[in-house]
Amino acid sequence: MAKVLVVTSGKGGVGKTTSTAALGAALAQAGQSVVVIDFDVGLRNLDLVMGAERRVVFDLINVVQGVAKLSQALIRDKRLENLWLIPASQTRDKDALTDEGVRRVINELKAKFDWILCDSPAGIERGATLAMRYADEAVIVTNPEVSSVRDSDRIIGMLDSKTAKAERGERVEKHLLVTRYDASRASRGEMLSIDDILEILATPLLGIIPESQDVLRASNVGCPVTLNSTTSAPSRAYMDAVRRLMGETVPMTVPVERKGLMNRLLRRRAA
């Protein structure tokens, strides 16, 4: 039974694309067949983060408009044979996406994959609403920061009212993924804590991704962090999150980086 999962947030720059790549790769590493779809028409980036930017020929818009077949737009990952990507168009605008076209593409993908991950654009307009439209589940990516939490609240409201599932009277299962979390700053009261965020958003927690240099390093080289540095703190956090998505019960911890004393002192001063 294929599951359609939207990765969304409202606010931009919180880590939707990074998280889509990491979750998609981690699911594939766990043996699932996965396709990740970039819904950010005009500003595609999932191809870049996954290191497939030079292999794009056809995109989601081409398939929606019937110019290309689905199989022509699917790009297979070079490292994982059960991970695929459908890029967004870089030249068209977001109005080129249609509700009916998206429904058709997702239905077709459901027959071929275990997981369909939709990487939503920022905002609450057409691209974002279509990315969540046919979702069974949603990952809401949130930073421990006021504007991100507010926008997540707005997106949660939309998931409960604007999705096909909500219109049928069903519920889109929602998961909160807190990214860029700095446990030491939260413990000093300088950053919203996990408890604060959960209390405000009242949505089950899927995982806590610690702030880490490994995340930027992975996107620099075009490789999902779970593949690029398998044992790093963010990587372990994404892998735990994926096990929870697959129904396992995994104790919630904040993976920490193993740092030297000097490194810590320097970091404290910089913060």
Partner: protein, 95 residues
């Protein structure tokens, strides 16, 4: 400045302030704002219009309902322009 204060006054982080501000804001946005806001205001507008129209002839476009959110209280502002006799007869003729 914040760093200086923190050095003198010990560690009092800004996170509790962030939490409180968010809780107040979201309570408003969920109740009367967010996706529910336009519908609520439109409903209020049409019902107020219906009640007042029973007794006074009105131009529906001149009935404005606004919600201003404050920190402790919100202000529901209803602005109804009642036309004078000359305009009223013009309005009646038009409808």
């Amino acid at each position: 400045m914040m760093n200086l204060l923190r050095l003198i006054g010990g560690r009092s982080g800004s996170a509790p302030v962030a939490r409180e501000r968010l809780q107040i804001l979201l309570a408003h946005e969920r109740g009367v704002g967010g996706s529910g806001a336009p519908e609520l205001l439109e409903l209020l507008r049409s019902e107020i219009l219906a009640v007042v129209s029973k007794h006074v002839d009105l131009d529906p476009e001149k009935v404005v309902v606004k919600m201003d959110r404050g920190k402790f209280v919100s202000m529901l502002e209803v602005d109804i322009e009642v036309p004078n006799a000359a305009q009223r007869s013009k309005l009646m003729a038009a409808t």
